[in-house]
Structures are given as C-alpha cells and as structure tokens.
Symmetry: C2
Subunit: 386 residues, 2 copies
C-alpha cells in the first residue's frame, strides 16, 4: 500500500425528503446564489422543494449552466456574485452544475489577472467561497469531492481544477430525484461512476487489499442495481444504492494508497471537447481500447476483476483478463451505450492525430499509472476506439 493523506470534510445528508433540511446548513446571514442547469428542476418538483426550504434565506438565482459547464456562462454568474455581494453558493443539479459552482467558488475569491488562470495554472485552490449542493443526478461524485472540470467552447478545451478549498460544505442526496431522470442520463451516470472506479482500480497490484475490495464493492453494486433502475427508476432500494455508489466512487476514498490511471478521462475529455459526446459515453468508448492497448501492464488487475466482478474462473490469467475487457464492453452495450467513436460521429478520421497533437502541445509528461503513455500511444488507443 502506498502512503496517502485523506481528508473529506463534506457533510452528506442522504435519504428521502432531505431537501427540506437545506436551510439549517446555510448561515442565516448569508446572501446565497442558487445555481442550476437547463431548468429540469422546475419540471420535477425539486425547484419548489428548494424554494420552500430557502423561504427564510436571502437568495438570488442563476440558471442555465449547460452540461460540460461552459466558461463564458460561468463568467456571467461570477458577475452576479460580485454585483449582488453573494457570500454562499448553492448548486442544485448534477456534476456540471456542481463543477461550475466549484469554479465560481474559486473565482469569487481569486486574485489573479483572469479567472481562466485558475484552470490554466493548475494550482490547487486552498480557499473558496463556501457552497453546498443538492444533487439531482448521480454520476460524477462531484457532490463529495473537491475537483471540477470546466469547458471552454471558444478553444474547444476541457480542463480540470480543484483543491482542498473546494469541498462542498454539505450535499443533500435524495434518491427520489432519480425517478424523474431521463433514461439516457441514468445510463450515463452508471457508466460514469463505473469508469471512475476502473480508473482507480485497473492499474497494477499494490497490496491495497481493502481498497481493492471497496472498489469491487462499488462495481458489484452498480452492476446489481443498473438493470433495476433502468426498469423502474422508482425502485428506491436500487436508486439509493446507485446514488451512494456514485458518490463513493469518487470521494477520494478508493484512490488512497493505490496507483491511479485517469488516462481514459484525459482522452475522453477530448472527445467531448471535439464532438460534444456525453462525458460518460466518451469513457465507454476509450476504456476497452485503453485496457487492450495496455494489457501487459494491467493484466493482473484485469484478471482479479474478471474473477471477483464477473465470476470468470476458467482459463489462464490472460484469458480471464481479456474476457473481463469484453464483459465490460458488453455491460456498457447492454445499457445502450455504444463503445466505438464511429457510432457517434461520421467525421472521426484524424481524431487520434488531433488529440495526440493537443497532448504534445500541452507538454504533458505522460498518461496512466506509470505516466508512461506518450502522445503516440494516445494516438494508437484512440484509433483502436474508432
């Protein structure tokens, strides 16, 4: 097991009818900016629940944060924060709204030249404006971590940011929100969370027996509940386990003491930036090719995953490892997720070269758990995913 540090101070309020507990978590003298996305919360009753909970709180609203939170839209919200003397942020939404809120939390207190520096400098944010979240879409785990990914359409960039100052003070997780989520987004959420676990697990054995089992527990649970949720999103048992699994998949715990990969995300982000493909689907496109390309360095963990997750007990270590990649792809496919880039865009020619060139230009030191993947490896992997 590798040395690690772990601290996650976010307060989770989980369960039925918990949105009403909102006001107790916000300082009474706060001036709050409530942030949300495309307005679905106004159709599914969540908006009314938030309004009712905030009835004694001074707040203004900013809606319209798009999926893959867009920098220019966030700059408008930043202006509202300054004009209205906002002191507390409340994200009501999924990963995009929460990620956008994290950027605003950092930007509100940022003292540099331009808020874009927060993203381009890659320096951790140690202090942000305090914020809480009401999660409406389980997927990214952003509700209990300190990271965010922001998109800038102008330059087709999608960059990460974060730091110890960007944990939500609280997050309210009511699994009842799941019943009004479109199936496409449910499938994305399951795929996203599952791939988050893979990124922190599918590396090489590091003697972290407990972390491996925790990671496997999340994957087993997602596989168990996925068909139930897709069949009946009002199934509360399935919904609550799905929601808590998504949070636990990326709240820092399972990555502690182990090597992590994240190359699938790095490549996937580029596919979203270039073609607007849903984040989760970009991960499903890249992951199988990535594991095939890096088979030799990952085969021990692939085989362990084969045995413990897919009950594959026959054959050599390599056989099991290959089977496990195939089963993963089938899992995505069975939920209706295509795992080839060509199914999403006709103009995929040259994608691998473009992404590889971008990585070269950014001067990255190497992707993957060994930081050994070079732009030319990325080119191969993306090509395999065509």
């Amino acid at each position: 097991m590798n040395n690690f540090e772990f601290k996650n101070p976010t307060k989770i309020i989980f369960g039925k009818d918990t949105i009403a507990k909102l006001a107790k978590e916000i300082p009474t003298d706060a001036k709050v900016l409530v942030l949300y996305g495309g307005g679905s919360i106004k159709k599914n009753g969540i908006y009314e629940q938030v309004q009712s909970a905030l009835k004694d709180i001074d707040y203004v609203e900013f809606g319209g944060i798009p999926a893959n939170p867009e920098y220019t839209v966030l700059l408008e919200a930043l202006q509202v924060i300054k004009n209205e003397n906002i002191s507390y942020l409340l994200a009501v939404g999924g990963g995009s709204v929460i990620d956008g809120t994290k950027f605003l939390s950092a930007a509100a207190l940022f003292e540099g030249d331009t808020p874009w520096d927060i993203l381009s400098n890659r320096k951790p944010t140690l202090k942000g404006m305090p914020f809480g979240t009401v999660l409406t879409l389980p997927a990214t785990g952003s509700e209990m971590n300190s990271g965010a990914v922001i998109t800038r359409a102008e330059t087709k960039e999608k960059l990460g940011m974060g730091g110890a100052g960007l944990f939500p003070q609280f997050s309210i997780l009511d699994p009842q929100v799941i019943k009004s989520i479109p199936k496409r987004q449910l499938v994305n959420g399951i795929t996203d969370a599952f791939t988050h676990v893979l990124e922190q697990y599918m590396t090489y054995p590091a003697g972290a027996l407990l972390q491996d089992r925790f990671a496997e527990s999340i994957m087993q649970t997602l596989i168990e509940v996925a068909p139930k949720i897709l069949k009946d999103p009002t199934d509360y048992e399935a919904a609550s386990n799905f929601m808590w699994s998504c949070t636990m998949a990326l709240n820092g715990l399972i990555q502690k003491g182990v090597p992590t990969d994240w190359a699938v995300h790095a490549m996937g982000h580029e596919l979203t930036a270039l073609y607007g493909i849903d984040h989760a689907r970009t991960l499903a496109i890249i992951a199988p090719s990535h594991y095939q390309y890096n088979f030799d360095t990952k085969k021990e963990k692939l085989a362990q995953y084969a045995e413990r997750i897919w009950n594959i007990t026959e054959g050599s270590l390599e056989d099991k490892a290959y089977d496990a990649i195939e089963r993963t792809e089938q899992f995505f496919n069975q939920m209706g997720i295509d795992t080839k880039l060509s199914k999403y865009t006709e103009n995929f020619d040259g994608t691998a070269e473009v992404i590889s060139k971008r990585f070269t230009e950014r001067g990255w030191v190497g992707l993957g758990e060994h930081q050994s993947l070079k732009p030319e490896d990325v080119e191969h992997i993306v090509q395999m995913a065509y």
Copy 2:
C-alpha cells in the same frame, strides 16, 4: 436504505515514516499536552520520533493513561491542562489513550459542575479542545471517529461519550508501529475491529447493498491478513491493510443507512468493568451467544455473511447461519482467544444477574437493533457465554 447523515473531517496521514509530519498539523502558537500510556512508546522508538517531530513546538507530557482509560487518572491530566494553559492535545497511543484524550478535549471546555457529567448526562459534545493522534495500536478506530469509552474503577462503570466536536483534527497511522506490538494486543486488535464490523452488519437486511459489501470487505481483509500479521508483524502489506481496516471498521461509514446492534459491546463493557478482561476478548465471549440467542431476527444476515465471508454454500438458510456463528468462534479461537467467560475467571457465577440488574438500574430502553432486548434477555445471553 435508511436515511443518514455523514460527516467525518479527520485528516488521515497514512504510511511509512509519517510521524515526522506531525508538527505541520499543529498550530505553531499552540501549547501542547502530549498524552501516552504505560510507556511502551519509550521502548519502541515512537517516543523519539514524536519528540523529534515536535522539536519546535512548546509541549509538556502526561504519561500513564491505563488501558480502559481511568477517570481519576484523566482528572490529573485535566489539572495539567489547566495549570499549563494547554491549547492543543496530542494522543500518542492506542484506543485507550485516544479515548482518554477525547474525554480531556471535552472536559477542558466543559462548563458543568463536574466532568463526570459529560459521561452521565450522555449529551453530545459539540466543541472540544483541538487534538490530533499518533496511532500506535490498530484496533478501536478511535483515531477517526468522535466517540470514546471511559472507565471509573471506583464505581466499576464503563460509559460512552462523544459528539461532533470530538473528531481528531488529524491522525497519523504508520503501519510500521505494528512490528513492536505484543501478539496479545495484535490479536485483540483484530478481534475488536472484526466485532465492530459485526455490530454494524449482523442485524437484518435493510437494502443497503453497498454498505453491506464494504462491511464484508473489511471482514474479508481482516481474515486474510490476520495469520500473516501474527506470523510476521514486519509484513508491511499485511500490517498496512490491518491498520486501515481497523480505522474503516469504525469511522462511521459502514454504519450509515443501516440498523446497528452494539449489544455485544454493551454487555462486553460490563465484563471488563467487573473482571478487567481485555475489551476485545469480552466481545469474543459475548458475540457467539448473542447471535445464537437472537438467531431468528438475525438469520438472514448471518446466512449472507456465511456465504460471502466463509464461502458456506451448502444447506438451508438456517444451516448456513448456524455454521457462520461457529466459524466466527473458530476464527477467534484460532487466534488464541477464548470465547467462554469461564476461561477468564473462576468466579463467574451470578455475572448474568449482576449485569442484568445494572441495566435495569440504568433504566435502559432496550438493546440491539430493535431495542427489544430486555435485562432478562441480557441475563440469558451472558449465561450462555459462561
């Protein structure tokens, strides 16, 4: 899954040679009281590591906190805190030293008549004097939770306390400390952590699929590493997984959203208070009888545990459940832990009646996940454990 709230702000610093990181976590203007136990830290090198880390910090020491931290000893330490204007506490030890430090953290800021009220009132402590810990004995999980158990020899009482104000600010976990722990205490630690998981798991199915798997992950890991640690406590992989499993067994995570029992602890505490039996061993004495006595209300989870932990796949649900109790007892026995009270004291006659009477006198509403166990049930269970 039941509704729950979860917040655990303790910073964990885990791994080889991490004690040197101590000073960075303590405010430079703090006046620190370093608390420790019987002095084993002066023999195994931990004391020197702490001294060296604190070389630029203003501190005084208080040693001699006994196992089952004794109220009257802690009152002496409280006097030192007041006389020396202490502003920060540092526990260097196992669960007893850390629990004692939590009591002092609360008592240092307590405004009632007598510090004993902290224990007798059973009110949560919302603010304590800040403290950190250096864990020298994995077992209780006290290094990452806000609870403590304090003993008062005078009245043969052992009572719990805690509250959101009593999380350690940081805890340093260096698995290398394990190599100098006597085998008896290693065995106690494994048993203690294992029983902690059982108390939060062996109830009835509540649809918390992920929490069940996390609990099972900890038990599987403890079973896997136990023989390795007992054979070779310098086995770092085994030691690190043992240490992290003990912490995760009682940091609040696996109890969220599920019913919990804790009757084994309630009865076990009395055996320690009456006969001075090691805490962990009292749990191993009570647990098998408790599960037999409450077989009907626990058999579904016992059978799940049988299948997933002990690979018992043959027989009826009841058969598996019974086998699982037997395997648990064997697990303790194989580590050298006796599971009958009569192996610890010759004067066990009447113990069940004494404990039952104490519970009646305290006016307890009922033990167990259904709060349904009455003093007469306790009497039966303790008798079965003779």
